[in-house]
């Protein structure tokens, strides 16, 4: 059973994604990192679903994919607006939300 390999792959993807979210300044790259995280979750779901012989995991993965598509659509629209207003997509310059 390849379960371990799947889980390790998922964990690696997850870590890369977390690193990207924390360390990157470019908003597009942060969005891509979030996609990586979501997909690492998908891999875990599929791996366990394969092992348990049930299709629940497949179904969840499909939902995750759909939601990820919606999320990236909204995210890219925000990045685009940000670029139009500020001519930059750097997240470090974006701290108007400071309370």
């Amino acid at each position: 059973m390849l379960l371990n390999q799947f889980l390790i792959l998922g964990a690696i993807l997850f870590c890369i994604g977390v690193y990207g979210v924390i360390a990157r300044k470019n908003a597009v790259l942060v969005l891509m990192s979030i996609e990586l995280i979501l997909n690492s979750v998908n891999i875990n779901l599929l791996a366990f679903s394969l092992r348990n012989g049930s299709t629940d995991g497949h179904t969840f993965a499909l939902y995750v994919i759909a939601i990820a598509a919606a999320e990236v659509g909204v995210g890219l629209a925000m990045v685009l607006l940000m670029y139009r207003n500020r001519r930059s997509v750097g997240l470090d310059e974006l701290s108007e939300m400071k309370g």
Partner: protein, 793 residues
Amino acid sequence: MFVQAAETAEKVVLTSGWFLEHAYIIPLIPAFAFLLIIFFGKRMPMKGSEFGIASMVGALVFSGGAAYQWIQRVNGAGEEAFIEPVVKSWTWWQNGGFSFGIGQHIDGLSLTILVVVAFISTLVQIYSTEYLHGDRRYTHFFASLTLFSAGMLNMVVAENMIQLILGWEIMGLCSFMLIGHWWEDGANSRAALKAFFTTRTGDIGLLVGTSVLFFAANDWTQKELGLSGFSIRGLSAWALSGTPGQTAITVGAVALFIACIGKSGQFPLHTWLPDAMAGPTPVSSLLHSSTMVVAGVFLVARLYPVFFEGMNILGTNVNFIVVIGGITIVIAAALAFVQTDIKKVLAYSTVSQLGYMMMGLGAGAWLPAVFHIFTHAFFKACLFLAAGSISHSASHHSFDMKKDMGGLRKFMPITFTTWVISTLALCGVFPFSGFFSKDEIIDNVGHNGYNLFMIVGLAGAFLTAAYMTRATYLTFFGEPRGASAGEHHDEGHGHDAHDSHDAHAHDAHGHDSHDSHDAHGHDDHASHGPRESGPLITIPLIILATLAIGSGLLNATPFGEKWENMKKWVEPRAVVVNVHGMAEPTGSHGEVKLAAGAVAAEEEGGHHASPCGSETPEGGVCYAPQLNHAPFKWAKGAMSVGIVFAGMILSWLLCVQLYARKNKALVGLTQRNKLLGAGYAFLANKYYLDHLYERVIVRSIAHPIARGAYWVNQNVLDGIVNGAGIGSRKIAGWVYRNVDQKVVDGAVNGAGNAAQGAGGALQPVQSGKVNQYGALLFGAAAIGALVLVIINT
């Protein structure tokens, strides 16, 4: 294989061959070529078109080989034996205990369409190399065109409904890309969107119908045949087995037919087809002859048993399909009269001809309808390519018959000849191919008891002859007008109606060759008068015109049984087939059934010789319902040809009066009124006569009908859509005023005030840095995970 031919006295051994067994390769060739064009096309000497043409030729060779081996297979079998389709299936993917297959289902029907699609695609691609020469998205165009053919071929070879939907959707996507090929013009991209959304509306029916049929049929097909409920053979056998409940199969068939209405441009979803003329002419030709619009007709023909049982075809009442087909014939033919754009006339003509095919299928005339797909593909492709040839070489990229054409027969002899041949074929004049298919549809519709619809068919033939005569007259006779007469278009003209897209192509051409804006509209094409197109355009025209004459002979019913080759090769035989695993029939049972069928078929009409379609088959399954064929009578044929000629002559006389004489009278009148005053009563009277023709006869007969149809189109159908939009806006407004502003906002404001106090305490955490928030989030998640691990161990 689970199914074998019924055991007759001498056991039938069906021959096969390499091409038949490997027909699934046919759609893969253009699909592969599509990838090649996308990745390497721009670097090739012919900008990728060589991949497209080579792949279509390859597909043509493969389908031709398969068709030849199929004919051998049929000839090797007995007269009454069931010719088993060559089916292959592999598992595509599995999920939740269901397995979805992909493969091939090759029989006479799919081979007919395969050959036609591959053939027309080849010619259209050759034609496009000349027509789109120098276009700015030339490579992209060929990529889309090749994928489009791949989609249609895939749909035709499809073994099951899932694979069929795959091809169907590829075509929807590619038609969107091709119609909007010159998307810089807003009208073109709007037309592309309209086509896409209208067909998508129908596609909902496809998904619903497929699901309904799957859940209704899957248990039966798995148990009896070991096939999935998506499989075309399984669904056909299930529909005719007498087991399905009437509700399930009717709902499934109606839902699938809605998809066909959308795709095949039937009333009331036909509105996208004329707008789809915004695409380049080769696209219109391919889209309207062999791919896309015949997809819907093909689906009905493919799953005919489902529609046969679901719609109760050949039952006592009229059914949904025949009504929709009949309405479409008349509505579309009437609309063709008020068009000035030559491509729109052809578009409405296609809609009308598709109505014939649907009406034929709805009235149990399966073979004539399929044969009409076959013949129609050749002459309609030829007509569109001829229209493209005119705009390319004579009318300076305009499609306006009244403004920019006329008198072209002298300048374009080849285009003119091929156009006339195809027009005669379309109208159904005797030795041309349209006669053998269209007349058979009308004849069989009447024979099966749908007398009203036979009259509709004959009326449609009359209208077809009349509007095609009008188009021919305006284009090729009289005096050259507008661009054909050598007038140059000013900048403004390029932006009205539907010739604007060609102005864009021109623009690109200008940029490429001269790299300056001054070149716009004054390059090679504009600098001379009308002339014949080059060989890359005329040779496809000649080939198609030859087939417009000759293809009817493949099923020439009037010449007797020996000429009915399509019937022998293509029509599935309504025979009870023994299935392993079912209750074995008693020794001689199958034989008796077959013998009875053979004897009864000898009798005239052969009405319900086989139990298929009328009662529950015993000891086996049926894959096709028993249909009747009307015996050909020369009197009927002569009558319909007479009606066609009446339409042509009447239309010709009217055209001469309206367009030729009115012009002279008008010009003369204005000049002489200015110069000599109102002294020429004779001329004025002549003008008065033309006025009478136009105002009284045409307005009172043709215009109200056509306008009425157009009005329904514009006001009623569009009104419903707009009404729905306005209604939902009003509801939204009310919700906003009452619910949103008063209830929700009140609650939100209250909560906000409460939160403000709490927020102050947590202020330092809100650094405003997104990355820091991310770090906090993941840190919290990590702590949560640690806690979980500790608790669980």
